[in-house]
C-alpha cells in the first residue's frame, strides 16, 4: 500500500501521456485498433467497467480508479482517504474473519471505547489523566477482543496465492487507485475479491493500521529533507484549497482519525458513479463482461459526490519558505496554473518538455551543462494534482559550493527567455514527436494501460481522450508558449522554498555516532 511519493512517478507518467497526444500518422490507426479491443459498460449502480483485450500472454492487470483522494478529506481529518485505502486490504465480512457476526459487535465496542478515550483526551480543560489512562486501557482491551476474530491479511494472502503480483494501491490528492496483475484464469476470483472490498469493507484492525500510516508519514515526510521541504512548500503556496494540506495528513489529525470516519468516507465516495474499473490483458469482453457485471453490481449506487466549492483565490503576493538545517541545499518554486480541463493544458506540457526533458532540455543545458551550478533541474506540472488548479513547479539541485539563490536566478533567466523569445521550430517539433512516441511506448504494458484508461475514462468520461487530445497538442504554437509563460510566470504568482545549509553544530556535527 504505497502512498504516492511527492515526486510521483505516476504523475510524471500522466504528464507524458497527457502530452503524448501529439500522435500524427499513427493516431487514427491506433484509436481504431483500440476501438475494436475496448468494451465499456456502465452498470445500473453507475460503476463503469472497461475491458481492453490484449492477449499477448495469459495474464491481466486491473486498475480500480476512485475519483476521490485526500483532497476530499474533511476538515480536521487530513489523511482520511489514505487511511481508508489501507483499510481496503483488510478484508470483508466474508474474508479475513473467523466469525463476522461476533466481530461486528466487537468492532462497535472498539469505536465506543475510542470515542470515550478521545473525548477525555481532547478536553480543553480539566482532563483527568488517570481516567484517560483507564480509557486507553479499555480501548486497547476492546481492540484485543476484536482481534480474536481476525484472520490477518487473508484478503491479500488469497490474491497472492493465486498469482497476484504488483499488488498495491496509492492515494493521491485527486484519486485512490487499487491495482495488481494476475494469471487470466483467476479473473473471476479477482472480481469476487475486488467487488467485495469495494462494497463490503470492514474497519478491521483500523487503529493498528493507523500506527502503520503514522510510520509511513515519518518515513516519507518527517525524516526526509525533501519530504519536509515539499510539505512546507505546498502549505505556503495554498491559502484556501486542500492542495495545500498534507496529503498523508498532519500528525495530530491522522493520529485521531476513527474507523467510523473512514467508513463514512467510504459510504460517500465509494459509490458506483465515482468508480471506474479497467481490465487489460488476455480477457474476452463478450465472456467476461456479464460475469464482471454480476459481481460489481454489488457496489452501492448513489449520486456522484458533490464537488468542492473552494477555489484557490488569486495569489497577489510572492511567498517564500526557508528551511535552515544541516542537510544539503535544494530549491523549488511554483506558480499557480489552471487545472487539466483548461484549453492551454497541452501548452503547459510543451513548456515542461522543452524545459526539462533530457539532455537537450533548456534547464539541463543551462544550469547543468553550461553554467555548471546544478546537478539537475526541471520544471514539472501540474503539481500536486490535476483535478483542481495546481502549480507549475521548478526545482534545482545545487552542485557543491552553489546556492539556492543561484538556482533561482538561473531558473528565472530561462523563464524570461520563454517570455521574450519564441521557442524554436525544432524544439516544438521535438516535443510533438517525442510525446507521440511515448504514448505508443506505453501501450505495451497491461498495468500502465489499465491505469491510463481508467484515468481518462474518469477525468474525461471517455478513454478515447487518451488519443483524441492529440489534436490540442498538435495545435500548440510558439505564440501559445509565450502567451502562457507571460500569463503565469509572474513574481506575484510565485511561491518558493529552499533548504539553506547551516554549518554543523559542534557535537555530532559530522553525522557520526555518539
Amino acid at each position: 500500500m504505497q502512498r504516492k511519493a511527492i515526486f510521483s512517478l505516476r504523475k510524471s507518467v500522466l504528464a507524458l501521456v497527457l502530452a503524448a497526444m501529439g500522435v500524427c500518422g499513427v493516431r487514427a490507426q491506433d484509436l481504431k485498433s483500440f476501438e475494436q479491443r475496448i468494451t465499456t459498460k456502465v452498470l445500473p449502480n453507475g460503476l463503469t467497467i472497461l475491458i481492453c483485450e490484449r492477449p499477448e500472454a495469459p495474464v491481466f492487470s486491473f486498475a480500480t480508479f476512485i475519483d476521490a483522494g485526500d483532497v476530499n478529506d474533511p476538515s480536521g481529518a487530513s489523511g482520511l482517504a489514505h487511511m481508508f485505502e489501507h483499510l481496503a486490504f483488510k478484508g470483508t465480512s466474508q474474508i479475513g474473519t473467523k466469525d463476522y457476526a461476533a466481530e461486528k459487535i466487537a468492532l462497535e465496542k472498539v469505536e465506543t471505547a475510542n470515542d470515550a478515550y478521545e473525548a477525555e483526551y481532547l478536553k480543553p480543560v480539566g482532563r483527568d489523566e488517570q481516567k484517560l489512562a483507564e480509557l486507553k486501557k479499555a480501548f486497547l482491551a476492546a481492540q484485543t477482543e476484536a482481534e480474536k476474530y481476525v484472520i490477518p491479511n487473508e484478503f491479500t494472502e488469497v490474491a497472492q496465492r493465486n498469482g497476484a503480483v504488483g499488488l498495491n494501491a496509492y492515494t493521491a490528492l485527486d484519486e485512490t487507485v487499487y491495482f495488481w496483475s494476475m494469471p487470466e484464469n483467476r479473473l473471476e476470483l479477482w472480481a469476487w475479491l475486488e467487488s467485495g472490498r469495494l462494497s463490503d469493507t470492514v474497519p478491521r484492525e483500523f487503529y493498528k493500521e493507523r500506527d502503520v500510516v503514522n510510520e509511513e508519514r515519518r518515513m516519507r515526510t518527517d525524516s526526509s529533507p525533501t519530504g519536509r521541504l515539499f510539505e512546507q512548500f505546498l502549505a505556503t503556496a495554498y491559502v484556501a484549497h486542500n492542495y495545500g494540506r498534507s496529503g498523508v495528513g498532519w500528525p495530530s489529525e491522522v493520529g485521531q482519525i476513527t474507523a467510523t470516519e473512514a467508513m463514512e468516507f467510504h459510504k460517500k465516495y465509494y459509490v458506483g458513479s465515482n468508480i471506474v474499473v479497467a481490465v487489460v490483458g488476455d480477457v474476452k469482453a463478450a465472456e467476461a463482461m456479464p460475469m464482471l457485471e454480476r459481481y460489481f453490481s454489488k457496489v452501492p449506487g448513489g449520486p456522484k459526490p458533490e464537488d468542492m466549492t473552494t477555489v484557490e483565490p488569486k495569489q497577489f503576493a510572492e511567498k517564500s519558505v526557508i528551511i535552515r538545517e544541516q542537510t544539503q541545499p535544494f530549491y523549488v518554486e511554483g506558480y499557480h496554473r489552471p487545472n487539466y480541463r483548461d484549453p492551454d493544458n497541452s501548452v503547459y506540457d510543451a513548456i515542461s518538455d522543452i524545459l526539462s526533458n533530457g539532455r537537450v532540455s533548456r534547464l539541463y543545458r543551462s544550469l547543468v551543462r553550461d553554467q555548471r551550478i546544478a546537478a539537475g533541474a526541471a520544471g514539472f506540472s501540474p503539481f500536486p494534482g490535476e483535478k483542481y488548479p495546481g502549480l507549475f513547479a521548478f526545482f534545482a539541485v545545487p552542485l557543491p559550493g552553489h546556492t539556492p539563490t543561484e538556482m533561482r536566478e538561473a531558473i528565472h533567466k530561462e523563464i524570461d527567455r520563454l517570455k521574450t523569445t519564441d521557442v524554436t521550430d525544432a524544439e516544438l517539433q521535438m516535443y510533438k514527436t517525442r510525446t507521440r512516441a511515448d504514448l505508443l511506448r506505453g501501450l505495451a504494458d497491461n498495468q500502465g494501460l489499465a491505469n491510463a484508461l481508467a484515468e481518462y475514462q474518469t477525468r474525461y468520461g471517455d478513454w478515447r481522450e487518451l488519443f483524441l487530445e492529440l489534436d490540442r497538442v498538435d495545435k500548440v504554437s510558439k505564440a501559445d508558449i509565450r502567451r502562457v509563460a507571460n500569463q503565469v510566470f509572474v513574481d506575484s504568482n510565485r511561491t518558493s522554498a529552499e533548504i539553506d545549509t547551516q554549518p554543523a553544530a559542534i557535537q555530532g556535527a559530522k553525522g557520526g555516532a555518539q
Binding site: E56, Q160, R186, L189, W192, P225, Q328, G358, Q514
Partner: protein, 482 residues
C-alpha cells in the same frame, strides 16, 4: 448463477458447523480457476559468432520500435580502489562525449528529434550501451550506436561534468537516512573496502583521468560481448546487420574469473546518529549465497515465509500485529556470481526502536527454532509458483532473462529447472537450509536514528554497547564547506 452459488456455499458452511466451519465457509474457494490459456513464451534466437560474441534476436511486432543493447563484462568491482567511482564516470562520460564523428551534444539533438535514445550505463559487473528508436529510424540509430561503441571520444569537459555530478552525490549521501542505513550495513558484511561496498570519495573520483577511461574501454571491449535486439524487425535482415558489425572483431578475451575475498561479517550492534529524523532505520545483516548453490530453491521458499509482502512472518508480526512499521522486509540474498546479503529491514518511530529490533531478531531466530507448518509451506510455494508466469509474460522479459543467464554462464533452461526445484521443496528442506544458513549470533545489527529520542535505549537489546560508525565525508578541499 455464480453469485448464488457463492452464497449457497457460504450458508452450507455455516450449517455444517463444527471444527471445520472455516474451511467450508471460504466462498472464494468455490470459484474454480479454469485451465490457463496455452502459452509458450517466445524464445529469442541465439547466434554465437566464431569470435565468441553472442547475439540474441527477439522479434516483437506489437509496436513499431526497435531496441538493442551491447552488454560488456567488467564493472565497478573491477576498478582500482584508489579510483573508486571510475565506472560511474566512464559510463556517464562515454555517452555525453559522443563519438569521433559526432559529439555528445549533437547526438542528443539528433536523437531527441527522432524520439530515440542511446544510453550507456555502468554496473558492478558490467557496462552497457543500449538504444531504442521508432522502427523507421532503426538504421540511423543503430549506426550511431555502433559508432559510439567503437569510436568514443571521451572529452575532458564531459569528464569534468561527470565528476561534478558525482561529487554532488557524495556530499549529499548523508542526507538520506535509508541511504546511510543500506550503505553502512552492506559495509558491515562485505567490508568497507570490499568490491561491492567501497564508496567513491571526492579524492577517488578526482583521481580519474581520460586515460583511465580510454584504457578501460579498450580493455573491456575485447571481452565477450552479448548483443541483444528486440522489436519490430525482420530477423534475417537484423542478423545480417549485426554479423556485419560484430563478426570482423577479434576472438574475445574473457576477463579473468572474478574472485574476491569477502571479509567475515562483523557481528554486534552498531549505531549512527541522525539528528533530523523521528524514525529509526534498523538493518540486520549477514552474508548470503549465490545462485549456483543448490539450496537456493529452498531458501527462496524460506524467504517467502520470512519476508513475503503481506503474508510473511515479518510483515504479519511487525506491521500487522504490532503496528510498529510501514516498511518491513527480509530475505536471504543470492546473486548470480557472488554471495548476496542476508538482510532484514524495519523502519519504526524512535521510541519503538528497541521493540522493533527485538521483534525482528526474534523472527530471525524463529527461522531456526520455530517449526514451519505445512500451511506456511503451501502458501509460500503457491505465492511463488502461481505468479511464476510473470517471470516471462513479455518478450522483453524473456530476452532479458536469456541475456542474464548467458552473461553469468547459467543454462538457458534455468528458470524451468528452478521452478521444478521449488515445486519439490519440502518442510524438511526449509528447516535444513534455515539451520544451515541462518545464524542469529553472527548477524550485525545497525540502527540509524535520532539518538536522544531512542528510549528505551539500545542497551536494552543486551548486545553490549553500540559501536559508533563514522560516516563523515572526507573533504580534500576544506574551503568548500558544503
Amino acid at each position: 448463477m455464480k453469485v448464488q452459488l457463492i452464497f449457497a456455499g457460504f450458508l452450507i458452511g455455516i450449517l455444517a458447523g463444527g471444527a471445520n466451519l472455516r474451511a467450508q465457509s471460504k466462498p472464494w474457494e468455490r470459484i474454480a480457476a479454469p485451465p490457463l490459456h496455452a502459452f509458450n513464451p517466445h524464445q529469442p534466437q541465439r547466434i554465437e559468432l566464431k569470435n565468441g560474441i553472442v547475439l540474441f534476436l527477439q522479434e516483437d511486432r506489437e509496436l513499431p520500435f526497435v531496441s538493442g543493447s551491447v552488454l560488456i563484462p567488467g564493472g565497478s568491482r573491477d576498478e582500482t580502489t584508489a579510483k573508486t567511482g571510475m565506472i560511474g564516470l566512464y559510463s556517464g562520460t562515454w555517452r555525453t562525449s559522443g563519438s569521433e564523428t559526432m559529439n555528445g551534444d549533437a547526438m542528443d539533438d539528433l536523437l531527441a528529434a527522432k524520439a530515440a535514445t542511446i544510453e550507456t550505463r555502468g554496473d558492478n559487473d558490467s557496462t552497457s550501451l543500449s538504444w531504442d528508436s521508432l522502427k523507421g529510424d532503426t538504421d540511423d540509430v543503430y549506426g550511431l550506436a555502433v559508432d559510439l561503441l567503437f569510436h568514443p571520444r571521451f572529452s575532458a569537459e564531459k569528464l569534468q561534468l561527470a565528476q561534478q555530478q558525482a561529487a554532488t552525490g557524495i556530499v549529499r549521501r548523508n542526507d538520506s537516512e535509508s541511504g546511510i542505513a543500506f550503505r553502512e550495513s552492506a559495509k558491515l558484511v562485505y567490508g568497507a573496502d570490499g568490491p561491492y561496498t567501497r564508496q567513491a570519495e571526492l579524492a577517488t573520483i578526482g583521481a580519474v583521468t581520460l586515460a583511465d577511461l580510454n584504457a578501460w574501454h579498450d580493455r573491456t571491449l575485447r571481452g565477450k560481448l552479448i548483443v541483444s535486439v528486440s522489436g519490430d524487425f525482420d530477423a534475417a535482415a537484423m542478423e545480417a546487420k549485426l554479423r556485419a558489425t560484430f563478426e570482423p572483431l577479434a576472438a574475445v578475451k574473457p576477463l579473468p574469473a572474478h574472485k574476491e575475498a569477502i571479509a567475515e561479517t562483523k557481528p554486534g550492534l552498531y549505531f549512527i546518529n541522525k539528528a533530523d529524523v523521528n524514525q529509526s532505520n534498523i538493518q540486520i545483516v549477514g552474508l548470503g549465497t549465490d545462485r549456483h548453490n543448490p539450496d537456493v530453491p529452498a531458501l527462496a521458499v524460506m524467504n517467502e515465509i520470512l519476508g513475503g509482502a503481506f503474508s510473511g512472518r515479518l510483515f504479519q508480526k511487525i506491521r500487522t500485529e504490532k503496528g510498529l512499521a510501514y516498511a518491513v522486509s527480509g530475505s536471504y540474498g543470492y546473486s548470480y556470481d557472488h554471495p548476496g546479503m542476508f538482510r532484514v529491514t524495519a523502519m519504526t518511530k524512535s521510541a519503538s526502536t528497541v521493540d522493533a529490533t527485538k521483534e525482528a531478531i526474534a523472527q530471525i531466530s524463529a527461522l531456526t527454532d520455530r517449526p514451519y507448518s505445512e500451511v506456511e509451506l503451501k502458501r509460500a510455494k503457491d505465492d511463488i509458483l502461481n505468479s511464476f508466469l510473470f517471470q516471462y509474460d513479455t518478450r522483453d522479459k524473456v530476452l532479458a532473462e536469456r541475456v542474464r543467464l548467458e552473461f553469468y554462464g547459467y543454462p538457458a533452461d534455468y528458470l524451468e529447472t528452478y521452478k521444478a526445484a521449488i515445486e519439490k521443496v519440502t518442510l524438511a528442506d526449509v528447516t535444513a537450509v534455515a539451520k544451515k544458513y541462518i545464524h542469529p549470533d553472527k548477524v550485525a545489527v545497525l540502527v540509524v536514528g535520532n539518538g536522544p529520542e531512542i528510549k528505551p535505549g539500545l542497551d536494552e537489546l543486551n548486545m553490549g554497547p553500540a559501536q559508533p560508525i563514522d560516516i563523515s565525508i572526507p573533504r580534500p578541499q576544506q574551503e568548500k564547506k558544503q
